[in-house]
């Protein structure tokens, strides 16, 4: 490290009703890998958006290599040598890799030159990528490579990475880290945003911890335990979900050789999936996003019809049943996408309670709706799951993501399911709420229900699962007891490194 690259002094940004950043200051050295750590809503995104020129700070200054730096838009930031890889990819699935990269450039070179440069850069950093492939056919890890190479072509001095590993297998994470270390050794500084503490300990030189918009601590991750960092992040000691250790009972849900084509063009078809879950058991299904999670949930919820015998509940073939009939029998589900799938954004929480609750909670009689009962059901969910909202009459879209997630999961848990299937139950939820959602799932299993948790958060799955399996390209790995699995084994179950190779350092 030779000198300071970016210096941030007292950056403040307020939105109506909330101060997203409150005089945040820290320095990033040249070639330093600097971690920005904090829970959802701590202000990490706002901060990097200011550095990248997407948001203008209310107060405070930045210096890049000693000179004043106040980008008015992302192109100014890129011109100054700041590049960013977003958590959500901005790629066109129908275009190929080179075309996608050209779209993000101010003066794209000819396609042939660009393809050559893409090959050069990708080989230099061990990120093999064929410029002519269609992005829709790429895995999530490969798509991230497109984004990274798009940045590297600009020869950045500072690379901002927003939660880059949430879509990667452990093996892919290791390869990404090799690439980042190589970049760092060549003098490129990296601002690495994450809440995954072990990764930060493995990769980063320094860490700045944000809570509620303020810097609450700095540390050297290698010398600090994950638990200490977590407590700095949350500001209190963490409640670890505990299980009552109920009896494992008979098989409740059995999937037998389920194969389903995906309803969407770039989706993943399910291939020969078989599994069984017993009463009192939590089955965790890991896997990188886009490997059939949505399709599996759709097949179980009844949105995607399957062969009648492929899914059996209590021995009854329900594959041809629709969502309502399955709910009546006790198979409940909660999809990943909250707004628009699990809940209707412009409808009130009462109406959203009715959305899945009408059958089991008796909210209709002979087709007529019982609004009073629906309202009490919504109020009960809000009360028990601590959903922060002025009242059940508010629209679903007025709730924050975490609060809506609590409502959506709570709605299913409160209906006393026999089998509950959830996809990404704690995505975007703060640590305390995530712990209470996990506790609710464990309590449900302890009470004799079978629970399937589909998630990309391996720590979460290891914490609550009895058995673990992984989805990879629409296939399900062998299902194994969770407690004696190593990270390497899990990674291999998730499909290993998807053909990535380590950087040729």
């Amino acid at each position: 490290m030779t000198g300071t690259l970016l210096s941030i002094n007292g950056l403040t940004k307020a939105y109506p009703g909330v101060v997203a950043n409150d005089s945040v200051s820290f320095d990033i050295g040249q070639g330093e890998v600097h971690a920005l750590l904090g829970e959802n809503g701590a202000g990490k995104s706002t901060l990097v958006k200011m550095i990248y020129g997407l948001v203008k700070p209310d107060q405070g200054t930045m210096q890049l290599r000693g000179a004043d730096y106040a980008p008015v838009q992302p192109s100014a930031a890129r011109a100054a040598g700041v590049a960013m890889v977003f958590q959500h990819f901005s790629l066109f699935e129908a275009l190929n890799v080179a075309e996608n990269i050209a779209l993000g450039m101010e003066n794209p070179p000819s396609m042939r030159d660009l393809a050559t440069r893409i090959r050069e850069v990708s080989e230099m950093y061990g990120l093999p990528l064929d410029p002519a492939r269609i992005v829709g056919d790429l895995s999530a890890g490969e798509r991230q490579r497109v984004e990274i190479i798009r940045c590297l072509l600009q020869d950045p001095k500072l690379l901002i990475m927003d939660e880059p590993t949430s879509v990667l297998t452990p093996q892919e994470v290791e390869i990404l880290f090799q690439t980042l270390r190589k970049l760092s050794s060549e003098g490129t500084a990296i601002l690495y945003i994450s809440h995954k503490l072990e990764e930060i300990r493995a990769l980063c030189d320094n860490a700045t911890i944000l809570r509620l918009g303020k810097v609450v601590g700095k540390c050297t991750p290698r010398d600090t335990t994950a638990r200490d960092m977590a407590e700095m992040m949350v500001g209190s000691s963490l409640h670890v979900p505990e299980r009552a250790g109920g009896e494992i009972g008979p098989v409740l849900l059995k999937i037998n050789d389920l194969s389903v084509p995906s309803p969407s063009e770039f989706g993943t078809s399910l291939k020969n999936i078989s599994l069984a879950v017993r009463a009192g058991e939590v089955l965790g299904l890991g896997g990188v996003a886009g490997n059939g999670q949505d399709e599996l949930l759709g097949a179980l919820s009844g949105e995607i019809p399957t062969a009648p015998g492929a899914i059996k509940l209590d021995g009854k073939a329900i594959g041809a049943f629709g969502p309502v009939a399955r709910r009546r029998l006790g198979l409940l589900t909660a999809p990943e996408e909250r707004l628009g799938h699990a809940a209707a954004p412009d409808m009130s929480l009462i109406e959203n309670a009715l959305l899945t609750g009408s059958v089991r909670e008796g909210l209709e009689s002979r087709g007529f709706l019982k609004w009073g009962k629906a309202k009490s059901f919504a109020e009960a969910i809000i009360e028990r799951f601590d959903v922060r909202t002025p009242g059940p009459g508010n629209a679903a879209r007025s709730l924050s993501g975490g609060n809506l997630q609590k409502f959506v999961i709570g709605r299913e848990v409160m209906q006393r399911p026999e089998v509950l299937v959830v996809n990404q139950p704690t995505w975007g939820v703060d640590a305390a709420a995530a712990a209470s959602i996990r506790q609710a799932l464990l309590d449900l299993a302890a009470g004799g229900a079978a629970v399937i948790v589909i998630s990309q958060d391996l720590d979460e799955l290891m914490e609550i699962s009895d058995h673990f399996g992984a989805l990879n390209e629409g296939r399900l790995s062998d299902i194994r007891p969770a407690k004696d699995l190593s990270v390497d084994e899990i990674g291999l179950m998730m499909g290993g490194s998807h053909g990535m190779e380590v950087a040729h350092v």
Binding site: K49, K56, Q73, T333, G340, H341, A343, F368, L369, S398
Partner: protein, 359 residues
């Protein structure tokens, strides 16, 4: 600088105020238009909105409100169910024509017999005719995924040709001295929808009111209405909730077709009296405007239907009394929808002044 900011929730206040604001803006812009045409804008607006209700000849115009408003409301109620669910039946005009043909056909088949059951049978036949015509786009959409907007719209022109053929051929009045058009059902007591002709009351008015109440209960109290609204707001959530989209397409298109067909039957057996080449007066298309003007809400549609009927009648008066061209009146009616859609944005967005903000 003006900036639009999305509201966290749709504003109740603006939901009710926007239709009134749209009417006011239409009056202003329409007044300017009439002024450019060399007419006194105040007199023109008064002629359109005031004279039909309160002038010395109002006794003649007021019943016309029921006559013009009833088919608009009846058709618009049916359309609004589908529009709420994102199912776009643009061909109500065609279903209206077919309902008139089948209903009148049944009545004429009994001629000259007199019996109490003839008129109910005609109503059923009219509803079935409109329903069957709407099942063509519905089944094509369910089976082959065709676009119901195009299919239903094109079937209007087929229906118009069928209407011409009927009034020149099969249903032509054998005692009509060779003129095109059927027997006049007003002269056939058993096939007549008038209850009290001088008051403008016919069974179509009753049906329109029943439809409003029925739709209100359906949308607010019944599972099917909830499913319709859910499908319109969030189709994926609707499928997750267990709504069968194909079933909903058949129900919504079928209901709107049946109501449009009934409206056609009431019209042919009452105000119009006979099947003729130019029997259809565009109610099926105007009802689309009425449905949106009433914000797809049954009560709103009732009010919008009355307002639309008012501009029709007032427009006629303005044409004859002030010599305004009919195109100006149509433009005026078009403005109403234009302003409604424009100010509709205020329910979901608020306008902020003078904020400079990157991002």
């Amino acid at each position: 600088m003006l900036k639009l900011e999305k509201r966290p929730q749709p504003s109740q206040f603006w939901t009710y105020l926007t239709p009134l604001l749209a009417v006011a803006l239409t009056m202003i812009a329409g007044g300017v238009l009439f002024a450019f045409l060399g007419k006194d804008p105040i007199v023109a607006i008064k002629t359109i909105f005031w004279d039909p209700l309160f002038s010395e000849f109002a006794f003649y115009y007021r019943p016309q409100l029921l006559v013009k408003g009833a088919p608009l409301v009846l058709i618009a109620i049916g359309l609004s169910l589908g529009f709420r669910a994102g199912i776009w039946n643009i061909g109500a005009e065609g279903q209206y024509i077919i309902g008139a043909i089948t209903g009148a056909g049944v009545g004429l088949a009994f001629y000259p017999m007199e019996a109490w059951y003839i008129f109910p049978l005609m109503v059923i036949a009219g509803a079935l005719g409109g329903w069957a015509w709407s099942m063509i786009p519905a089944l094509l959409k369910v089976k082959f995924g065709t676009n119901e907007i195009l299919v239903s719209l094109m079937l209007v022109y087929v229906a118009e040709q069928l209407l011409a053929s009927m009034s020149l051929g099969l249903l032509k009045n054998p005692e009509g001295f060779g003129f095109p058009g059927s027997r006049n059902l007003n002269d056939y007591a058993s096939a007549n929808s008038w209850i009290h002709q001088n008051a403008g009351m016919h069974w179509g008015v009753v049906a329109a009111f029943i439809a409003v109440i029925f739709a209100y209960v359906l949308l607010n109290r019944h599972m099917l209405g909830f499913q319709i609204r859910l499908t319109g707001e969030a189709p994926r959530a609707a499928r997750f909730a267990g709504v069968n989209p194909n079933r909903l397409i058949l129900i919504c298109l079928g209901t709107s077709g049946a109501l449009a067909g009934m409206a056609g039957l009431f019209e042919v057996s009452g105000p119009s009296g006979q099947i003729s080449i130019d029997f259809n007066a565009g109610y099926g298309f105007t009802a689309i405007i009425v449905a949106f003007l009433g914000r797809l809400n049954p009560i709103g549609i009732l009010l919008a239907g009355a307002l639309m009927a008012l501009t029709y009648i007032g427009g006629d008066i303005a044409q004859s009394k002030l010599g305004l061209p009919s195109a100006a009146i149509q433009l005026f009616q078009g403005m109403l929808l234009f302003f409604l859609l424009a100010v509709d944005m205020l329910t979901n967005f608020r306008i902020r002044l003078g904020q400079k903000e990157v991002a």
